[in-house]
Amino acid sequence: MNPRRKKRLAMVASILIGISAVFGLVLYALSQNIDLFFTPSEISQGKKETGLKASLGQRIRIGGLVVPGSVKRDPESLKVSFKLSDMTMPIVFKDSDITVTVYFEGMLPDLFREGQGIVANGTLAEHPLTGLSIEASEVLAKHDENYMPAELAEAAGQKHEKSTYTDKQLQSKNTSGY
């Protein structure tokens, strides 16, 4: 390579390294804020690295797994409540898990089921019965990166059914002013 090209290469390379360093530092500084959601244990104990804690009444997102057996649906309306625990791999639920209860009124996404990853958007509240809870205005399903044909999934003991709604439940949505 001739000296002029070498100089140009050095210049381009140093500009690039400089910019990447700046981006890296900015991202590092922002890294806590880029997180989409709090996990249940982060809500009760604060974020692991910064100790940042959500305060009561604050609008936050919570992400976790729906604890099996915790989903309670009101037969008359679209009100639903369920507990979320931290997402762990492999998925196991223990009684000692920290859970946060989510209250929601509305249609659940098709992927909602027990054991499913969920991100809920709402305000943090202290509920008389369940302690720290989220009054959610939006519930989103987070699915994993595993895809399986239905037959295979059944053989592995995994099955999925969409939530179904009765007419009465759906009508309550219209009358309650949504």
Binding site: L16, V139, K142, H143, Y147, E154, H160
Partner: protein, 247 residues
Amino acid sequence: MWKWLHPYANPEVSYHLTNKLLPWLSALAAIFLSIGLVWALLFAPADYQQGDSFRIFYVHVPAASLSMGIYFAMAIAAFSSLVWQLKLADASAAAMAPVGAAFTAIALITGAAWGKPMWGTWWIWDARLTSELILLFLYLGVIALHNAFEDKNLAGKAAGILTLVGVVNIPIIKYSVDWWNTLHQGSTVSKLGRPSMSLDMLWPFIVCFIGFSLLVAVIISLRFRNEILARNSIRPWVRELVKNHTR
């Protein structure tokens, strides 16, 4: 060290080489895409959780990974154009930008159409989706800069610098799902060694992916050919070619 590249760096040779490759590339792309899409839509099994909405996977994932792949290729072209002042590298970078932008847009649209029924929302500002949107803006900026200057060398230089600055976004897109909490799930196919998918779902994906990649090659070749002509319009060989074409 670059001596062997020399004959290919000649615009006339490249133009004719591209012309010769195009019919083959087009035929292969048509074959792979038609087999892949029919397989994906009709024969691939539905997912146990997502049902048939899972079929969006077969356009969404190839589009998303190609949107990053094309950017990476464009960055290499921009780099060699800035350092070695290869004019052809500039032409190829200019040819790639609109194709990359189109595939980024496709990834975003199909992602939204998949997210609505599965997650429950068309859009969410999580790290993966936001960084992919930034990729679209980077592409649009590069296209705008290529067209902003009358002098193609100056335009190439400006667009090249933006391209290289934007490269930092590529690892951010790729690893956003590992570095941060996102609604978007982790990657399925590129998981080292063992994709999290059964084979009768994976095969149609591989065929679709090859098909879309070939289509990218076809469109980039078409645009590369145009760029070469536009940038060499005063050369005798182009004049000769134009005379033969318009007669």
